[in-house]
Symmetry: C2
Subunit: 427 residues, 2 copies
């Protein structure tokens, strides 16, 4: 694969896609939905080929479940496309209009980023989820899936490309990429690729971040804390700890550590016993340990550790300030929550904790684009530049500044000349 | 300088600044304005020390002019601070509010980025312009100016720090940085520094971009095109070409190349003669050359070249499409303009040219934060991620997602359980 040639073609096709009329992108999305229905048998057959190989190679059961397509999963993908259509075209939306002077009007409008490189593992549904978001936002997309899903990915990217063609758009705006060498080649093309979105393990994300100059959107770690304040309601504290840890322990928004105010320690045994009954292994500091039968002593390495399984760390703090400092020192800036009946403590926590998502009396597991009502999600960003937290269509947009004049020159506005009006206009 | 210790302290001080009440940041800005007045004599004396050294070392006249402070420049800086105060506090502004379910309210609010590293040359006014923007947006700031302005920079950063202290804020949110080794050390701290903003030559920007993993906001090049369409008004074309090239040839938004539709060639001699009378050297392709007495033949190296002086390239195109392709192939995505009386051509150009600023019948020189009415400007970004084009306070902000609940758990919303309402609320 000549990665330079592929990326250059995709970049050019993306420009056509991004500046095409909204009706063309709408049509492509409708074609995509129709193709997923028409080709259901072929898509499932391609997926069976991948599953057959996976079974022969003894792929672990959870990975196999993620690899498998089904009529239900395809129907969900089509619903997602319908939701994107309902949301309307996000491009060319005026965000700000200013009269600089009579007959000199500045408009800031939404525009696509350009060309995205998506690197994902196992789940072939991601091709359509992210491909349709890219199409909706007018971005070209290079899709590199895991080799275990190669037949499924090829068939699904084929649907994307045929949907583009059917709408009169350039199919090269969506490209299936295979092979590690191709990825390495693409990661070097910072003049063609505008954003890399890795979806997978922290290790994958870190490897990509350290091997490219292209901006990377995502998160390598999700070390989420639940702080049980002095004024925490014990029943709520228990529910939030159990849901945060047990609902889906491998997720990036799972709770990895409880911070317990010393005044809450008398209630900690109840929280601990509920967690233990759900199979959670606790690793507690010296003050919490005696209250948690069966817990192991926590070490320095448990601070800021992402377990990704049914293990939970417990640390004692003397104050809200200490809890916030602990989160800033050891958290990953993903999602952190306070449980308290004290409105002032909740307000201080929400104002001061410097994480992408900050919650009061809600499970850290809510940090998710679907739950936030953003529709589809390309990922969750712990970066602070561009998009932060769960990222939907808005995170795939940038802006352009359009200025319409009548021959005005900057020299006309020198000292003693014309003056800018800078009048804010309705958008 | 222990760069790790300095950056860590500044990062912590920035968190205090960003979560302090708006009245504290307002007070610091007012103190800063007052200090610039109170200390005028001391500031000018420090600046005289820098100027004395500059004269002894024979600094070039334009650089000396940029280095010099004056009562008028200090007054302008104070006006800028007043304008920031008028704009109000930009932090904690709700951008989106959603009811996820009864009693479960999500709010996306503006937040500071964190800690900025500003690297600038010569102009000491930048300390206050950027320092006050950082203070307004709740960001900490490490300021590394040129060594030729070291006494002025120290005195001005002293004003920033004292203004913070006077408002009860941590002065370590603003730090004067000296020496190349310190910069190299700070550029390695991608866990402490959130954004680097280099202000200076393209060479400076490229050097920084290639030596850090921290996001860099700015532009290495400004290769701006003016396309003279078949339907361009000859008088406007002349005015826009002369202003774009001659108003300030060293600026990044100066016009570097004319693209001339073949049908406009009969009018080109008039444009060329106006440019020549202003001392512009033209470098023209084979079709334009015979129409431009005194012009030199353009070579391949003139495509996409930033002259930064009174040199202008002229290339002939056969169509609007060719002009747009030329801009995409050779431009820097900074600012490109069309001159035409044809509304359809203007609309197509504005819709399709993929640059930060795209103009119709206006000089490329308008691409500037002050002219756009953004107030102060930290720079102009040709990047597509985060902020694009002229960047004011908004470009120094990110967001956080705040969720307030009553003990809700994600497990409650599994299939067959509670359903999200995702009701949009007024902000």
């Amino acid at each position: 694969m000549d990665t330079r040639a592929v990326a250059t073609r995709a970049r050019a096709a993306a420009r056509t896609l991004g500046s095409a009329p909204a009706v063309s992108r709408d049509a492509a999305l409708r074609h995509l939905s129709a193709l997923l229905a028409e080709r259901e048998e072929a898509l499932l057959a391609a997926n069976r080929a991948d599953l057959g190989r996976a079974d022969a190679e003894g792929l672990a059961a959870p990975l196999r479940a993620r690899l498998a397509l089904s009529p239900a999963k395809l129907a969900t993908l089509r619903e997602g496309i319908d939701a994107l259509l309902d949301g309307g075209d996000p491009l060319g939306r005026p965000l700000r209009r200013t009269e600089l002077d009579a007959g000199l009007i500045l408009t800031q409008v939404t525009s696509p980023l350009g060309l995205l490189l998506i690197i994902f593992e196992s789940r072939p549904d991601a091709v359509i989820q992210i491909g349709s978001l890219a199409l909706r936002s007018g971005n070209g997309v290079l899709l590199k899936g895991g080799s275990e899903a190669s037949a499924s990915n090829r068939a699904l990217v084929g649907c994307l490309r045929d949907a583009l063609s059917a709408a009169g758009l350039d199919p090269d705006a969506a490209v299936n990429v295979e092979g590690r060498e191709a990825v390495a080649g693409l990661l070097a093309l910072d003049d063609c690729v505008d954003l890399v979105i890795p979806r997978g393990s922290g290790e994958l994300v870190r490897r990509i971040q350290s091997s490219t100059r292209i901006p990377v959107l995502g998160h390598a770690e999700g070390v989420c804390h639940l702080y049980l304040d002095a004024a925490a309601d014990p029943a709520r504290a228990t529910r939030l700890a159990v849901d945060g840890k047990c609902d889906y322990p491998a997720a990036c928004n799972a709770t990895e550590a409880l911070l317990v105010h010393r005044d809450f320690l008398p209630e900690l045994a109840g929280v601990g016993s509920a967690l233990r009954s759900r199979g959670v292994t606790l690793r507690a500091d010296a003050r919490a340990l005696p209250l948690l039968p069966g817990a192991q002593p926590a070490t320095e390495a448990d601070r800021g550790h992402e377990y990704g399984d049914l293990t939970l760390a417990v640390f004692t703090v003397d104050s809200l300030d200490e809890a916030i400092d602990f989160i800033h020192a050891h958290g990953s800036g993903h999602t952190d929550a306070i449980c308290t009946r004290d409105a002032d403590a909740a307000a201080a926590f929400l104002a001061r904790v410097d994480s992408a998502s900050v919650f009061h009396d809600a499970s850290t597991r809510f940090a998710d684009g679907y739950r936030y009502g953003l529709g589809a999600e390309v990922g969750i960003s712990t970066g602070r530049i561009h998009a932060r937290g769960p990222v939907g269509v808005d995170g795939l947009l940038t802006t352009r500044w359009l200025l319409s004049g009548q021959g005005q020159c900057a020299g006309d506005y020198k000292a003693g000349g014309r003056r800018f009006t800078h009048r804010k206009l309705p958008v």
